[in-house]
């Protein structure tokens, strides 16, 4: 228990340092335009990855429809924001539109979560993908969301400097909520379902209840992130949030480590920044990205690499244990003496 909490504190500390540095650079103007444009999307990908990790890492269900929730939240939230523009103060407008976007996405999460009660594994994966594509099609064909031409968000468009505080708060909120869920009775129930559904039921865990809750919570944060994401652009099209985006988020989660919150954050930053950093290589950047992805997967599952890692971490653990034991022995000795 104690050890885990130190881990959480470390994540929050690292996030704070990260935000402080980026914030400092952003507001003092020590940052390129290209990088400024990347900032909010990176934060949003952190939120998306951490929330998807609740589904994939903690609940153990493969979801390929996360972009659908984001999209549902994005469009409702931006519509609300457009309507409220000039009527209420900006902070209030952002908060309200994020809440509405999140809630609408949560409703979609509930709907998409329902099939999960009956389907498993790959059948569930294709269903979530299908749901995401259906959401995309609906939004593309609705008049109110601008149809295929996309929604004109020109006059609610906000720069990174305006959106930064909201994005920071949303990232903190998502991370803290996920941490708290992970270390609670509900988190234990969710992980129990992941590890062994039948045993989980046998100890009185209501699988239906928790599966739906996970989908709803994850969708809420994806939706809220979508709202802020939408404010970074002057025009948003539903077609840009297809299954490829869902896959991209999934890749972040898997590379960061299942159920590992810090891993999701780090992977989101690196994977979103990497293609941008490789801009000089233009055509080759996605190629390099693909090769890195394959290499990481193959190497991390390589027996030799694994045993090397265990050897290193094992030695570290052993040293720590020895040190602890020595300390205790010393204490005991003092007490006896």
């Amino acid at each position: 228990m104690k050890k885990k909490n130190y881990g959480n504190l470390f994540i929050l500390f690292a996030l704070t340092v990260f935000f402080a540095i980026l914030g400092g650079m952003l507001y003092t103007g020590n940052i390129g335009r290209q990088f400024t444009n990347m900032l909010i999307p990176i934060f949003m990908y952190i939120v998306l990855a951490v929330s998807l990790n609740l589904v994939v890492g903690l609940l153990g269900e493969l979801s390929l429809g996360h972009a659908g929730f984001m999209s549902a939240g994005l469009f409702t939230g931006c519509l609300v924001s457009i309507r409220l523009y000039g009527l209420v103060s900006d902070p209030l407008r952002f908060v309200i539109s994020m809440l509405v976007g999140g809630l609408v996405a949560a409703v979609f999460g509930l709907i998409v979560g329902l099939p999960t009660l009956r389907l498993r594994g790959d059948y569930l994966a294709i269903t979530t993908l299908a749901c995401g594509e259906i959401i995309k099609t609906i939004i593309t064909n609705l008049k109110i969301t601008g149809g295929a031409r996309g929604l004109d968000t020109g006059h609610v468009y906000s720069g990174a400097k305006t959106l930064f505080p909201y994005a920071v708060v949303l990232v903190y909120l998502t991370v803290i909520v996920m941490m708290h869920i992970k270390n609670s009775a509900q988190g234990r129930a969710i992980m129990a379902i992941r590890d062994n559904r039948i045993a989980a039921e046998s100890i009185g865990i209501n699988v239906t209840h928790y599966k739906l809750a996970v989908f709803v919570i994850a969708a809420f944060f994806a939706g809220a992130a979508g709202v802020l994401y939408g404010h970074c652009f002057a025009n948003v099209k539903a077609a840009s949030f297809d299954y490829n985006v869902s896959i991209e988020i999934l890749v972040i989660v898997v590379l960061g480590g299942m159920g590992n919150i810090f891993g999701s954050i780090a992977a989101a930053v690196i994977l979103r920044a990497l293609p941008e950093m490789l801009r000089g290589f233009e055509n080759y950047r996605m190629l390099i990205y693909a090769i890195v992805l394959i290499m990481v997967m193959v190497l991390s599952n390589n027996k030799k690499v694994q045993s090397f890692r265990y050897m290193v971490t094992g030695k570290l653990k052993k040293k720590l244990r020895e040190r602890k034991a020595a300390k205790q022995a010393k204490k005991g000795g003092e007490m006896n003496g």
Binding site: P115, R118, T127, E133, M286, Y289
Partner: protein
């Protein structure tokens, strides 16, 4: 009536393409228990090899297709050896991500080699069209249906009668037991990838003939649809993949014709969800009861 017949035929045409791709998905899944997300991109590779063979080298179309089949089969084997084989024991998500990586890799290689602009698929431009019950049907459509039917019959014979086919069934049933019986899993998996990729190459020729233009991302949507078809029919089941592909193609074309082109994808996916809710393991998939 004419419209109905035309829609039916074009649905069967599209369904045949989906079925051919879905077969690859399903066979690989049945034997290696993995979702080969890069399978769709094999179609794209097949189409580009056809273009190169016919346009640049000047080979006759049929040789171009054969070349595409060989290239894709070899590519399938290579991908399996380099990317998937090291991950046999890895968690299924790692394999899925690797497959996604391979998909990105193929798309971006094509982007670098052939550029982002679309290329026209040249073959079969001279095939005659027919009149069936008043509807004008392209000769190429008839050819697609006939070839697909032959392939399906041939594949069924291959799976049920030949030694390798039986080995494939044995491995998909129980890998461990198959190995104890002296069947080489590695070789079986290699053969499966080769066949699956070859089928995708044939599908690419029909796809090119129907849709003409080829892009580096051409494979991804038919790939997803074929994956849907495979799941729809019950993933791992060969007759399921055939049925799933045909049904999906029909639904898509009829939805386009009678409801709306814009909504056709949503309708296809909607039907998939409904079918899965009623039959959680697809039309022809086995219901697996977890033993307690």
């Amino acid at each position: 009536m004419t419209v109905f017949i035309r829609t039916l035929i074009s649905g069967l045409n599209l369904g045949s393409i989906y079925a051919l791709i879905a077969l690859g998905y399903s066979m690989v899944y049945g034997i290696a228990r993995m979702l080969n997300f890069a399978h769709g991109d094999i179609i794209m590779v097949g189409a580009y090899s056809g273009i190169v063979a016919v346009m640049s080298i000047g080979l006759p179309p049929i040789v171009g297709i054969l070349l595409g089949v060989i290239v894709c089969a070899l590519l399938g084997i290579t991908i399996e050896r380099l990317a998937y084989k090291p991950l046999r024991q890895a968690p299924s998500l790692s394999i899925l991500i690797t497959a996604i990586g391979v998909s990105y890799l193929l798309q971006n290689l094509a982007l670098i080699i052939f550029g982002p602009e679309q290329k026209a698929y040249p073959m079969f431009s001279g095939v005659k069209s027919f009149q069936i019950l008043g509807a004008k049907i392209d000769g190429i459509t008839i050819l697609t249906l006939a070839v697909t039917a032959c392939i399906m019959i041939g594949l069924n014979l291959f799976i049920n009668k030949t030694k390798i086919g039986k080995a494939m069934r044995a491995v998909s049933e129980d890998k461990g037991a198959a190995e104890l019986m002296g069947i080489s899993t590695d070789r079986t998996i290699t053969v499966t990838f080769a066949i699956g990729s070859a089928l995708a190459a044939i599908a690419s020729a029909f796809y090119g003939a129907t849709y003409v233009y080829i892009l580096p991302t051409t494979g991804s949507m038919p790939g997803i649809k074929a994956f849907t078809a495979a799941v729809f029919g019950g993933i791992g089941s060969i007759p399921g993949a055939m049925l799933g592909g045909i049904v999906l193609g029909l639904i898509e074309q009829f939805a386009k014709q009678y409801i709306s082109t814009l909504w056709s994808n949503a309708i296809v996916f909607g039907v998939l969800i409904i079918v899965l809710l009623v039959k959680p393991t697809g039309l022809m998939g086995k219901t697996i009861q977890e033993k307690v």
